[in-house]
């Protein structure tokens, strides 16, 4: 940290301390206006499992191949998301039905990873993309504990491990490009765009062929809503998308924590009480001692 950052930090701390109690708790929550949010729409009925998206993602993000220890080791065959894989195509199959699923970060509107992160290494930045900043990360992995979808991954074999997850190829935006996976998808199964537009598109597809889809857009309201949306012809739970209700994932922790620590009043009050009780007890003791010493 340079001096400027420290000074800035001190100044902000002062400013935050000066805020009225109520607004302080909200100060860190970054709200992206709904019309600015961008994400992906994934449609299981269009996906043919060609994995072009997986390869394109690796290329665009310069991620090394995973050979799974097979002899020869020439083939990149990731089995799941990992420190070297930000998206992967999975397959669900039973007697009656089957479906591909493109696993990746859903870019929560109110992300649990960001709410858990001590210094805000995970934050919502441009277009509401949940982005990681290594300079603020201690590698505590609380984000991994917090994410209801098990998305953030650690580079377990690195000496200065990064936390890895899809950030919608935001490093390509400057070149006028979007996410690589959507760019290469031959079937329009992955589409990149503004969340509002994606939601409209999803509703239009469902309205056009209502029998084809499960009557729900995953991510519209789940966990407070996600910027990436999923349309499916099989039950979402079978794709590994849990039923987590409509409340944001960090809600329970936030309600309890801010309930106890609102405005930091309770700890300060408790300290004052404890201090005065200890002081009174010690005075009593001193008085008793001096009385004992008298003949």
């Amino acid at each position: 940290m340079d001096r400027r950052t420290l000074l800035k930090g001190l100044a902000t701390a002062g400013a935050v301390a000066a805020l009225p109690a109520g607004s302080r708790a909200e100060a860190r929550v970054v709200h992206t206006p709904p019309e600015e949010m961008k994400g992906l729409l994934y449609d299981t009925t269009r996906c043919i499992g060609c994995k072009a998206c997986v390869a394109a993602c690796k290329r665009a993000n310069e991620l090394p191949a995973e050979d799974n220890g097979m002899p020869g080791g020439l083939h990149d065959a990731p089995l799941d998301l990992s420190g070297t894989t930000k998206t992967v195509i999975k397959l669900y199959k039973d007697k009656d039905e089957s479906s591909f699923y493109k696993a990746q970060c859903l870019q929560c509107i109110d992300p649990a990873c960001a709410s858990a992160c001590m210094l805000g290494a995970f934050q919502k930045r441009e277009y509401g993309i949940v982005s990681w900043d290594g300079s603020k990360c201690v590698g505590c992995r609380y984000c991994q504990v917090a994410c209801p979808f098990n998305i953030p991954k650690t580079e377990w074999h690195a000496l200065n491990p990064k936390i890895v997850k899809c950030e919608l190829c935001r490093h390509r935006f400057a070149e006028g490009k979007g996410p690589a996976c959507a760019e290469v998808c031959p079937r329009g199964a992955v589409v990149f765009g503004k969340r509002d537009d994606l939601l409209q598109e999803a509703k239009a597809r469902m309205a056009a062929e209502p029998t084809k889809y499960v009557p729900k857009i995953y991510g519209e309201t789940d966990g407070g809503g996600t910027q990436c949306l999923v349309l499916s012809h099989v039950d979402f739970a079978k794709l590994g998308l849990p039923d987590i209700g409509d409340k944001p994932a960090p809600d329970l922790a936030r309600t309890v924590q801010h309930g106890v620590y609102k405005g930091f009043i309770a700890p300060v009050a408790l300290y004052a009480v404890l201090g005065s009780v200890i002081w009174r007890n010690r005075r009593k003791e001193e008085v008793a001692e001096t009385q004992e010493e008298r003949p």
């Binding site: 860190r28 799941d80 210094l119 201690v138 590698g139 098990n150 200065n160 922790a253 408790l270």
Partner: protein, 391 residues
């Protein structure tokens, strides 16, 4: 009433057969830590993307600090409830607390992937995320480690004043001792406030895990349950440790006081159990404790709490050290299992993930425990920690 004897060093040789063994374990752990930093977490631990937190968090940090609440629990009793007769038990309790918390901090350095960024956590105030329970836990624990060592300073000052030949150092120690005596109220109040905050927040940590934590354990009462159980564990460890040092160092005469002290745990355990079952009933999860595969773990927790409670309530007036020790041990195990269940056993990320600690992980944890024993033994032999009456 028993006479208080001022704390004094026990004396004796530092290097004995047991301490040599502990040193061996510590040395092995040190080598493994070097290996961990040379090759990364993936090569030395069983940690994975489903179970990013293993025994270093569940045992060293969460259980380790809960077992290090002796200083906190005795602080409440002696300084808040004004039970001065327990004063001889405070210093050894604060010593074990300081050691336990320091080792928890040390294991965090080994556990985190990028510990070189750790110093930013307390200093980058402007970046603090007040939503993060872990931030509160981290800052609070760092402050408390400092408070604990300040609470121990009088013992160190006394030693320096008595045994150091440099006059300027002796007068400095005397000055520091006097200053601490005046500032003591502020320090002691912190010594009670900070554990109240972070021991409850250690429970809040798992609230954000949501559906990944089994419904028996996931409750808004996690912070309260963690707080109540850790205070009970604090008394349990004081009783256990006093019995242990009584038998190891042949000290006598503390049994009646320890028997009384153990009764302080009764209301805590009763409230804890009532809250645990009441919460399950209110959330409509009572059926779960008979149906889920994890139910045996729940019942084992409850059985250990009840066993400790029965041992206390049925203790005869002339209680022996063995019974007191068993009682302390049961309660420590009960609280420890509750923490293990909340952080590991009842945590299921799904997708077939599993975790069982790797041998190097276990040995490093063992090394930290060995370090605690070594420093404790050296401290009570050379510093005025243990008081009371000697046989």
């Amino acid at each position: 009433m028993t006479e208080h004897v001022a704390p004094a060093p026990l004396g004796g040789r530092l290097l004995t057969k047991p301490t040599a063994g502990l040193l061996g374990i510590l040395g092995l752990a040190f080598l493994l830590i070097v290996w961990r930093f040379a090759t990364g977490l993936g090569n030395t631990t069983a940690l994975n993307d489903g179970y990013p937190w293993g025994i270093w968090i569940a045992f060293d940090v969460v259980t380790g600090t809960a077992l290090a609440t002796g200083g906190y629990a005795m602080g409440i009793l002696v300084y808040i409830l004004n039970k001065g007769k327990y004063h001889p038990l405070v210093r050894p309790a604060v010593l074990t607390s300081a050691l336990g918390y320091t080792m928890a901090g040390a294991s965090l350095v080994v556990d985190t992937g990028r510990p070189w960024n750790f110093w930013k956590v307390p200093l980058f105030w402007g970046q603090w995320n007040v939503d993060s329970v872990l931030l509160e836990v981290a800052v609070c624990i760092m402050t408390y480690v400092a408070v604990l060592w300040i609470e121990l300073m009088p013992a160190i000052c006394e030693k320096v004043e008595k045994d150091v030949s440099l006059p300027w150092l002796r007068s400095l120690a005397a000055k520091v001792g006097k200053f601490l005596d005046k500032a003591l109220v502020f320090i002691l109040a912190f010594g009670v406030l900070l554990p109240t905050m972070h021991q409850s927040s250690l429970g809040s940590l798992m609230l954000v895990a949501g559906h990944k934590l089994d419904a028996i354990w996931l409750t808004p009462f996690l912070p309260l349950l963690f707080l109540i159980s850790c205070i009970a564990m604090g008394y349990a460890i004081v009783v256990f440790e006093s019995c242990l040092s009584a038998s190891v160092f042949g000290r006598k005469g503390e049994e009646p006081m320890l028997r009384q002290l153990s009764r302080a745990m009764v209301p805590l355990v009763v409230i804890y159990l009532a809250l645990r079952f009441g919460d399950l009933a209110v959330r409509g999860q009572l059926g779960r404790i008979f149906t889920t595969k994890l139910a045996p773990f729940f019942w084992l927790e409850i059985a250990l709490f009840v066993a400790a409670l029965v041992l206390i309530l049925k203790a005869p007036p002339k209680v022996d050290l063995g019974r007191l020790m068993r009682m302390g041990l049961f309660l420590m195990l009960a609280g420890a299992l509750y923490r293990f269940d909340t952080f590991l056993v009842a945590f299921n990320p799904g997708n077939g993930w599993s975790y069982f600690p790797a041998v190097p992980e276990l040995l490093i944890t063992l090394g930290f425990v060995a370090a605690e024993f070594l420093i404790y033994l050296a401290a009570v032999k050379r510093f005025p920690i243990l008081g009371g009456s000697r046989a």
